[in-house]
């Protein structure tokens, strides 16, 4: 809803990290930032899917406002002064990443996505080199029942990209979530094994958008899982054109 371009949009001017920019007023901060090479970190945002606003890594400061805003869900406005990389934000982001690493099992060295993982990249980008909060050490099931794919909940960060891509792009709505709080978990169909799903078309879009090694192709071994997202901007562009 936030991203739908409306007719008669104005162009506004504003500042990001002391640089001047102009953009359409229906663009979000993260869109403008990324277009201009400012890498605001994010895990749940993905161009082409609806805005979710849940990982909170993309929070930025707006000068004059005491609150932080998520840059994926906030539109630019005339005269806005945005700061994306203050020391405070860096510290918050490191803590959020530490929390994610502590929540489930993210031992990169034995992961099929090692070297191609967004969580791992973000930790490097944000300088998170150790985790100070205790690990939760909860063991989750791995569901290998699907012929083509596998879901390892131990690696899931609950970004909901799989849920959104399946619902919004593929139109199958195989994925959803169950439980709440720390017990939240993604599920296929009504919490049945993925291989028994009636709604899954086997398209693999969820696997490709998954930022970590939670959703992967069968038969991949450590470091072998590369993800390919080229389809997403293409599909969403074609949809918008219709």
């Amino acid at each position: 809803m936030i991203q739908t371009p409306t007719p008669n949009v104005r162009v506004v001017t504003f500042k990001i990290d002391d640089r001047d920019f102009s953009a359409r007023e229906d663009e979000t901060i993260i869109q403008v930032a990324w277009e201009n090479g400012i890498r605001v970190p994010s895990l749940c945002y993905l161009e082409g899917l609806s805005v979710w606003g849940a990982c909170r890594l993309c929070v930025v400061e707006i000068v004059g406002s005491p609150r932080l805003v998520s840059s994926c869900s906030t539109r630019v406005a005339e005269g806005m002064e945005i700061r994306t990389d203050s020391e405070r934000l860096q510290a918050y982001r490191r803590m959020i990443l530490e929390l994610l690493f502590s929540e489930r099992n993210h031992v990169c060295s034995v992961c099929v996505s090692n070297g191609h993982c967004e969580l791992q990249n973000l930790a490097q980008q944000c300088g998170m080199d150790h985790v100070r909060v205790p690990y939760r050490n909860k063991v989750y099931q791995v569901d290998s029942s699907h012929d083509l794919f596998r879901v390892d909940h131990n690696r899931c960060v609950l970004c909901s990209r799989c849920i959104r891509v399946c619902d919004e792009i593929e139109g199958a709505h195989t994925w959803d979530s169950k439980g709440r709080g720390i017990d939240t978990q993604v599920i296929t169909d009504l919490n049945r094994p993925w291989g028994e799903s009636d709604s899954c078309t086997g398209c693999g879009k969820c696997v490709q958008v998954c930022p970590t090694g939670a959703l992967v192709q069968q038969g991949t071994s450590v470091g072998e899982m590369h993800k390919d997202r080229k389809f997403l901007p293409y599909l969403s562009r074609m949809r918008d054109a219709q």
Partner: protein
């Protein structure tokens, strides 16, 4: 219906009521019901003499829940009613026998105590007086006159203006100016708009909204209808938690009664204004009280918040502009429209107008429901109205605002209770829960209790709240068990800030508040529980040695 007809009807009902000599009111709100008010009512009805000399009536909450079941006797000609406390069914005959000539002294509840005398009732003015299941009782108490008069004689803008003038602020916790919110929705050009009443009331220990819904449901309907008229909506939803079956039942009954009288539904009072209300049930998730999650839930989705802006006023239910207010906020609307915004603005303080209902609980003599003008000092509420801490114990702290609020120590007792003062000292008004604690309560345990609540109620959408509340709870458990170190405490404080600043919705943003405020006022209680950190001690020793040399 025109206002004259309504007034005439009200007069008729009042005359009817006056024909009886004694009116015996039995509180049938949830608290008194759970302590046996049902049987008391039945026995009183059986014991009542034939004819219309004595009327036995079930009414809503009388406030002093700790003394229930409560029964009140009002005799014609006497201006002071008699209140009876802890009434049991076998007392019925004695009460009936005493009518008109004596008082059953062993049951009498003194109404001269500050608990009754210091209150000022707007929201609860009908509570404990009218029969909540009888629309005529409400009409006799000037009910629906504000709505009928507004529909037939004022424009929506005039209604809006009164609400603006009143200075009313949202009673759901945030304290956002109600008039401003209404104006935003009114200005939206959409043809379809919605009005929602937030009756999810999930704060532990809070029961203000429940009492209003159970005791005076028509007032909420009237407030919502006035809101709908002012902002241009034609459909309303009341989102009530399923744990309130009595409130749900009474709301549904009231909606039927009001629709039958032509006060809701199509072309209310033969004007072009139409308004339907539907009751929706919440399944008990605290987060569903958050406005965007609530709307998701009404739409049949998983109750999870989404980032704001866009606010519900722009993009609400099914994408249409939506006005969402709390139960108590709506309960103030009919009196404001009836008596004028200026009247309301004359009560309370500079920036917090009107009265506030509080649910007093914890280590205090009089637990129950009170309504006081904004700006009353905390001390007056705790010591006078609440009757102080029982068993000769010492007062330690009062917790306001539930899991989003803070604990205030004795030094803050002279603070006037209003939105801004409470926020300045690290707590919040919240929806009106007030829990008093004595010297036996450990503040670390209190903080841990609220953190546990937030952890289990977190929806799990955003990382800081989902994992942060879990980690803070772990740390608090460790510290409470005497196993924490100063590094744990430092980490806890860092987590508090990150979770407050980065969480998506109010639940996460305020979850650390109980920890922050107990650390602010009772830090020593945390420190006393830490295990002595040898490394830190060594460091200190070296520093001291260096200082000496």
């Amino acid at each position: 219906m025109h206002i004259d007809e309504l007034n005439e009807l009200a007069e008729q009902i009042r005359t009817q009521h006056q024909s009886c000599q004694h009116c015996v009111r039995v509180c049938m709100a949830a608290s008194c019901q759970s302590s046996g008010a049902d049987d008391v009512l039945k026995r009183l009805e059986d014991a009542a003499p034939e004819g219309d000399q004595v009327q036995v009536k079930s009414v809503g909450c009388m406030g002093l829940c700790s003394a229930g079941p409560l029964v009140e006797v009002r005799s014609r000609g006497d201006d002071q009613p008699i209140m009876y406390q802890h009434v049991e069914s076998q007392d019925a005959e004695e009460i009936m026998g005493s009518l008109g000539d004596s008082v059953v002294q062993r049951l009498e509840c003194p109404t001269s105590i500050p608990f009754f005398q210091r209150q000022q009732k707007i929201v609860l003015e009908n509570s404990g007086i009218i029969d909540p299941e009888d629309i005529e009782d409400y009409i006799a108490a000037d009910g629906y006159s504000a709505l009928v008069e507004a529909l037939t004689e004022s424009s929506p803008a005039e209604v809006l203006n009164e609400v603006n003038l009143s200075g009313l602020r949202g009673r759901g916790g945030g304290g956002y100016p109600t008039g401003l919110k209404w104006s935003t929705v009114a200005k939206m050009p959409a043809t379809q708009k919605y009005v929602i009443c937030n009756a999810d009331e999930g704060d532990p220990g809070a029961f203000m909204d429940r009492a209003v819904l159970e005791s005076d449901p028509h007032r909420i309907l009237e407030g919502m209808a006035l809101a709908a008229y002012a902002v241009g909506a034609n459909r309303g939803y009341i989102y009530v938690r399923a744990e309130y079956p009595l409130a749900i039942d009474r709301l549904k009954k009231s909606i039927r009664q009001a629709t039958r009288k032509g006060l809701l539904g199509a072309n209310v009072c033969d004007t072009p204004f139409s308004f339907d209300i539907e009751v929706r049930l919440g399944a008990g998730a605290f987060v569903c009280g958050e406005e965007t999650a609530l709307m998701q839930s009404v739409e049949g989705e998983r109750g999870q918040p989404r980032p704001r802006p866009p606010y519900p006023a722009e993009l609400g239910l099914w994408g249409f502009p939506t006005l969402i207010n709390n139960v108590e906020t709506y309960a103030n609307i009919a009196p404001i429209v009836r008596n004028g915004g200026e009247w309301f603005a004359s009560i309370g303080t500079e920036r917090s107008k009107g009265t506030k209902v509080f649910a007093l609980a914890g280590r205090i003599h009089n637990t129950g429901l009170i309504e006081v003008p904004m700006g009353v000092p905390l001390r007056e509420i705790v010591e006078e109205i609440g009757g102080g801490v029982p068993d000769g114990r010492r007062f330690k702290a009062v917790q306001t605002g539930g899991p989003s609020g803070g604990c205030l120590p004795a030094e803050q007792m002279d603070l006037p209770v209003d939105y801004d003062s409470l926020r300045e000292v690290g707590s919040i008004m919240g929806s009106g829960g007030m829990i008093v604690m004595d010297e036996t309560s450990s503040m670390v345990d209190v903080a841990r209790y609220f953190m546990e609540f937030c952890m289990t109620e977190s929806c799990g959408k955003c990382v800081p709240c989902r994992v942060g509340t879990y980690q803070m709870h772990e740390l608090l458990t460790k510290i409470a068990a005497g196993k924490g170190t100063s590094a744990d405490l430092a980490l806890l404080e860092e987590l508090c800030e990150v979770v407050q600043m980065t969480s998506l919705c109010g639940l996460g943003q305020t979850a650390p508040n109980p920890v922050v405020s107990t650390l602010q006022y009772f830090r020593h209680e945390y420190e006393e529980k830490l295990i002595r950190d040898e490394f830190v001690d060594m460091e200190q020793q070296t520093e001291e040695m260096e200082a000496v040399s």
